[in-house]
Symmetry: C2
Subunit: 406 residues, 2 copies
């Protein structure tokens, strides 16, 4: 009987701890097969520095509370391992930690970069004569992993964005006769427009907000944008816009860069909404407000999607069950069985196939004019935001488990 190592990776979500909850709760059901589950303090860094959190010290109540707690309870990180050839020392450190704590199972909970890391570790562990069972568990608000119907964390952001643009549009519509005419909400999505697309679900009837959605997949054309906004304001009296942080101009450059790059070398974005607001104010002489949701959108556990939560939790359960069944070197996937009602099962795909692929919005999910979503997109997205998974409250605020990694 061996122990397990679980690590959270990359940007955290409203439901990544639900995956941890499912995984820990399930491992506890097999005391004769899995010993302790250790969590990496701050993700894989904990493995590299032999800094592990013994989750057996968490009460069952704590494990349940994880399901209601946003952020990454054990700490996450942005740290991509180089290839074994480039950085053998890191792999040696990690395997040394595995050996020291008798780790036989490695669960890595993250996005595309993390699945790549999981794959490298899987290969290295075999090559180094200390094979561990490696299972990647998908997680990313960007919803850009291949092979899986969707990515845990996305459904909750999608719901947050849909709720928020609907509410803000009520606000601006109320005031437009004498005040703000245009509202712009900036959402995350560096390369893929899934989050921006989800805002389109709020537009159920003709003329419902959002009226324009700007996707990273569609190059920004200022003239067409200004025409569309002007036309909407003339027709409805106001205009609500959702813009993805990753929108690029005709030269393929980000419309706005906040400067700086993250640990993966990605440009750190932000500030596209203020830039568009300025453009509209200058060119169309309209009063414009803008909001930048930033971390609020991916931590909004208070309005998490029940479907998203269920999938995140189930993936944690299945990770343990699959590992115990000897399934190795895979990323778990969500398989859509039917749309109405939405039915899904958990499958898996070889990590080798997943690494460093991004799934963009298909062109037929974006309307012909490039400014909205199609019915096909709506059909895909709608099941993912169903149900309100409210957390418990105390003193008027959500009662979350304190961060464990501190």
């Amino acid at each position: 009987m061996q122990n397990a190592f679980y690590a959270q990776s990359g940007g955290v979500t409203a439901v990544i701890n639900a995956t941890a909850s499912g995984l820990l709760a399930t491992a506890r059901q097999y005391p004769s097969r899995i010993g302790k589950v250790y969590a990496g303090r701050n993700g894989i860094l904990g493995g590299l520095h032999d800094d592990l959190i013994d989750t057996s010290l968490l009460s069952d109540q704590d494990v349940t509370a994880l399901k209601y707690t946003p952020g990454g309870a054990f700490g996450s990180c942005r740290h991509q391992l180089k290839s074994f050839e480039q950085d053998a020392a890191s792999y040696e450190k990690l395997i040394s930690t595995f050996k020291k704590h008798d780790i036989g199972y490695f669960f890595y909970n993250g996005g595309g970069d993390s699945q790549d890391t999981a794959h490298k570790i899987s290969v290295a562990s075999r090559n180094m004569g200390y094979p561990v069972i490696c299972i990647g568990i998908p997680k990313t608000i960007d919803n850009d992993l291949p092979f899986t119907d969707c990515c845990p964390g996305f459904g909750s952001v999608a719901k947050y964005v849909g709720v928020s643009i609907r509410e803000a549009a009520y606000d601006v519509a109320s005031m437009a006769a004498s005040s703000t005419k245009v509202f712009i909400l900036e959402v995350m999505g560096r390369h893929a427009g899934w989050i921006a697309a989800a805002s389109g679900l709020a537009s159920e009837k003709t003329n419902d907000a959002p009226h324009l959605i700007l996707f990273p997949e569609i190059k920004f054309q200022e003239k067409r944008f200004l025409e569309k906004v002007e036309q909407t304001v003339n027709q409805l009296g106001y205009c609500a816009i959702v813009v993805s942080e990753g929108v690029k101009n005709m030269n393929g450059e980000f419309l706005s860069e906040a400067g700086g790059r993250d640990a993966f070398g990605h440009a750190q974005l932000g500030g596209v909404a203020p830039r568009l607001a300025e453009m509209l104010q200058n060119k169309l002489k309209l009063k414009v407000h803008n909001a930048v949701a930033d971390y609020l959108q991916r931590s909004a556990r208070h309005i998490a999607s029940q479907v998203d939560l269920d999938q995140a939790f189930t993936l944690g359960q299945k990770a343990v069950e699959f590992a115990l069944a000897g399934i190795d070197g895979v990323m778990l996937t969500i398989q859509r069985e039917s749309n109405t009602p939405y039915r899904w099962t958990i499958g898996h795909v070889s990590l080798e196939n997943v690494a460093n692929q991004e799934r963009f919005m298909p062109r037929d999910f974006i309307s012909e004019d490039g400014f909205h979503i199609t019915d096909a997109c709506r059909e895909y997205l709608l099941p993912l935001i169903q149900g309100e998974a409210y957390p418990p409250y105390e003193n008027g605020l959500p009662k979350y488990l304190p961060l464990i990694q501190k």
Copy 2:
């Protein structure tokens, strides 16, 4: 038997329609005393242009749905009447509308500027020989009206801000070891720091976020701010900051102005968080993220405070009851009877005394170092965010009444 005129004014809130709901539902209970209730399309502009919405056309179900719908259902506006001497024509238009529709009751639902307008109309209607009963109903997310314990709309923003900073702080804390170290949330509050203060409720234990709050009442000192952030990051590994849009420097100038002025001549603010983020990145070399909540905060009906909703609804009820009792020329107030449990009643104060006063945070509600709230402030604020008044959902999104003014 005369008719009534109800108008929404100024920035809308998550619960101003709950006041409308209470008012309409109550008026319907007195069919022998109040005829129709007309709502001004886009607030007082509807009165000036004889553009009224006959609310008798709303079903009882619609009136109930108002309670769950953010924004201003009949349209609001930013339009302050000049004095009678400066603009007699507007008063004549308004009184002409009142006469034409046999209006005997005028309910004006707004903030400080609107109470001033209500007062002017009250005086003018008497001087012009067509006296109407005038009742101002408080509403402002800024919570800056005098004489009332709090202002409807504020409690829900307060809750939203408390929830949001707690959630975002979980996010940044999870990632701080290798990524973003500082998170800044910009909230509304042009002159008074009540909304920023409410974020302090999320800080229940030592070291809980937010770690710094920047109030308009406390002049911004860059050196002290940088020291405090650095100290917090050194101690905790991260720092969560809430900043009021109205923060001013030592010269009394807004730290950031988005440019432009609204119809009342107030500077239109926005963008203090990005400015502070830039400052921290340059001076402390820290990775910083920032969010600007803008309209999301005041339209967040999905996480409205139950106490706020109850007060907003009750004020609508009482406005009708007081008017029928012949009470005239007053703004309704919320009177705090006890803290634990929080008990309140509805009172009133002469409009004359209310007009154009702003209630700032008392100094003893702000900690000595100027960066947080005190226990006295906490005791005042805590009752206002109690209870989660969730709206109904359909297809994964809140089901709101369509805007009526369109």
